[in-house]
Symmetry: C2
Subunit: 143 residues, 2 copies
DNA sequence: TCCGTTTCTGCAAATTTTTGCAACAGCTAG
DNA sequence: CTAGCTGTTGCAAAAATTTGCAGAAACGGA
């Protein structure tokens, strides 16, 4: 999940937006953890390095980075989590009962994606889905 | 998308919760519109009939009804929308550019669902997905 | 029908998220 | 290197959402 600061900066600039220290710090903070990172975690990490950064800025920047697809987010357990966008998308299975999270490779969605494009002309952006349900253990104990 | 008040009430009671006028009114309000309904719309409809009902109650009740799968919700365009849960699930394609919404029948997910169950033992609850992307028109003008 | 238990609701306060605006600061052209 | 244009940020206020708690009310059993 390596993120190339230069690459991100180029992407931002290329689309007519500006590369600011805040944005770079926030990108770094998201990458510090290997996995899903919550708003608060990102905020704390950023604060540690640059105490001046405002929460409103973080909210806006996260939206911005998602918009540009440099970062992906998903709602897990009612709270948004963020992750740097890798080369290949991946998804998650989230157990509604115990909260366990399992990774789900993207190939499961290849067919759906191309079907939607072929049949509906719809260019679906399925970059980071969180599907909820019951993990094997919880499904067992449920009945 | 007919909802049977008796059926809903039975479901609620059956699981050990209580059938209250507030809950029934809120269910009715969700059903009034045929399509996706926002929090504010529901709130207004409920207010029209029973001005006393509190916003906090609405927030809690919507969560509650989703929990019981009597209502499904999805995040569209950054805001939550609610719909009464029908017999067969359905999903939506939401254009990120123009906001157009297209319905997507559930059969597209049959295979995924059974695959997850077979291979991962995961009982996925895919009851109302909103996939974002670009509709044919916007995909065209994008390039 | 009435009672006891436990869930729900309304209210107010706390918390989280969004927004408007003036000052600041990237970036491009000269 | 500088100036100017326009996107960004910080701040404070507004709006949206969640939470704790005491009183109200559903529901099962007597």
């Amino acid at each position: 999940m390596s993120h190339d600061r230069l690459e991100c900066a180029a992407q931002i600039r290329e689309r007519g937006f500006r590369v600011t220290p805040q944005r770079m710090l926030i990108l770094d903070a998201i990458c510090e953890g290997k996995e899903h990172t919550t708003f608060d975690e990102i905020y704390d990490r950023v604060q540690a390095k640059a105490p001046g950064i405002n929460q409103a800025t973080l909210y806006r920047t996260l939206d911005f980075l998602c918009e540009l697809h440099l970062v992906v987010s998903a709602e897990i357990d009612g709270r948004a989590v963020y992750e740097i966008a890798g080369e290949t998308p991946h998804h998650h299975l989230v157990c509604h009962a115990c909260g366990a999270i399992q990774e789900l490779p993207d190939f499961h969605f290849h067919e759906l994606r191309s079907h939607l494009l072929r049949e509906h002309g719809f260019k679906a952006d399925i970059s980071h889905l969180a599907l909820t349900g019951l993990c094997p253990q919880c499904a067992e104990s449920e009945r």
